[in-house]
């Protein structure tokens, strides 16, 4: 894959880029991974060149290679977000039924999704804002419900500064109790049986700031909190 080696630790970059670079470390060698449209797709830019991973896309492909510029694009080869992608040695194509058979039967080790809201019990809302945004859920419900591990990439607050990490979701749910970890532009937060647990802080952000930007209690570890 045409990837940037990101060994800088990312601390010179803006918080969103650091969030995406940190999320890339979530991907272990050998995994089958589906990256949602938007920020999650950018995670691949932060994997080391030659990293052994199989990326899946809902429209029927495993083994996604680099995104191509228009002049090199194959009109029959896109990912679920519409980007023109390329095959790798070992790529497979299949129909939509097979594509979701592998999702529902547990062959997807990890999915990274965007979010409007995440609740402290792991509920996720990311497909509908009644009266404002209702384009349909596409494959999000099955990804969120059936991937072995579900992590979320999102800004910590919405554009108006309202928290997106909440005690309970107010929007229609995508899946209940499935989110394990959240990467934001302020922190890494785990969903635990006790609620949200602060795992890491972005360099320069304080515990107080991230707690104020969160709509639920953040449980703190009894050791120093690592930064990224």
């Amino acid at each position: 894959m045409a990837l940037l080696d990101d060994n800088s630790g990312g601390k010179s970059q803006d918080p969103r880029t650091r969030m995406v670079a940190r999320a890339a470390q979530e991907i272990a060698p050998g995994m089958v991974v589906n990256l949602g449209i938007g920020l999650p797709t950018k995670v691949i830019d932060h994997l080391p060149a030659g990293f052994p991973v199989c990326l899946h896309t809902e429209n029927g492909m495993t083994g996604i290679g680099p995104t191509l510029p228009f002049e090199d694009a194959d009109r029959n080869l896109i990912d679920a977000g519409g980007a023109y992608v390329s095959p790798l040695p070992g790529t497979a194509y299949f129909d939509s039924a097979v594509s979701f058979a592998l999702v529902r039967s547990g062959r997807l080790d990890l999915t990274m999704l965007g979010a409007f809201e995440v609740a402290e019990n792991g509920d996720l809302a990311n497909w509908k804002i009644p009266g404002k945004f209702s384009p349909g859920a596409g494959g999000a419900i099955e990804l969120a419900q059936k991937a072995r591990r579900v992590v979320v990439l999102t800004t910590h607050t919405d554009r108006k500064g309202n928290p997106k990490l909440l005690q309970s979701c107010t929007l229609p749910l995508t899946a209940t109790g499935r989110v394990a970890r959240i990467f934001t532009d302020m922190a890494v937060v785990d969903v635990t049986p006790c609620g949200f647990a602060l795992v890491e802080l972005i360099d320069g952000v304080t515990v107080k700031e991230v707690q104020e930007a969160t709509g639920a209690t953040l449980h703190l570890p009894d050791h120093d909190i690592p930064t990224f």
Binding site: A80, F100, G136, I141
Partner: protein
């Protein structure tokens, strides 16, 4: 013996579609969308259609021509976020929209093509998508009953076809085409290339010709099939 020839002019194949028909349309984005069959459907002004498709294409492309012409009464779809015309038609009540989880739409269609009545699944339980659906309990689990889907007509885009209707597909232009090609009472295919009987290696056939009713030659592969510059 030789296998029957199902080659049919597109105008004739589409003329047999009734107003009010339930029509499956292959494609996910541009790849696999039968643009020429859709144009012929618009040209012949078939109305009151129920269209089943993964997405609503983009404004000015594919089934948007049907939607903008007011020919679609109901759209069954997984996502229409890239088509502002479709969103307006839905919000203004000009078109009924039923949303379905993507893989469940695929599996309902596959079940329809396999002669099954329904599938049982936990997908969408405890979400809005479960509203109004029958729930049963089996092995201690709650499951939604998702009815199989069949259509009057399926419009399919394939890479190669032989005259009997054996089909191959390319890359992500497969998507819903192979399953829809099994799930309609009349399956109409526009292949990019028609090869003679025997021109497709039997090992490479993805849709067996028995599922296909009409193979319509394409005069050209127009701009709509090309790479979209955004």
């Amino acid at each position: 013996m030789s296998l029957p020839d199902k080659t049919t002019p597109m105008e004739e194949a589409v003329a047999a579609i009734s107003d009010g028909a339930v029509v499956m349309v292959g494609g996910f984005g541009v790849p696999g969308t039968p643009f020429t069959l859709i144009h012929e459907l618009v040209r012949q002004g078939k109305r009151d259609l129920t269209v089943i498709k993964n997405d609503a294409n983009e404004a000015g492309m594919g089934i948007d021509h049907l939607i903008s012409a007011g020919l679609v009464r109901k759209l069954v779809v997984t996502h229409l976020g890239l088509n502002a015309n479709a969103i307006s038609a839905m919000n203004e009540g000009r078109m009924e929209v039923e949303f379905c989880a993507q893989g469940i739409l695929a599996e309902r269609i596959r079940a329809g093509g396999a002669g099954l009545q329904a599938i049982l699944t936990d997908i969408g339980l405890d979400t809005e998508l479960a509203a109004g659906k029958q729930v049963i309990e089996m092995d201690g689990k709650r499951l939604l009953v998702e009815p199989a889907i069949r259509a009057d007509v399926a419009l399919i885009h394939a890479d190669q076809a032989d005259p009997f209707g054996n089909l191959t597909y390319l890359a992500t232009a497969r998507n819903f085409n192979p399953i829809m090609a099994m799930a309609a009472d009349r399956v109409i295919v526009e292949p990019e290339q028609i090869v003679p009987l025997g021109g497709i290696d039997p090992n490479a056939v993805e849709t067996p010709g028995v599922f296909v009713d009409q193979v319509c030659p394409l005069v050209s592969i127009g701009e709509e099939y090309g790479v979209v510059r955004r």
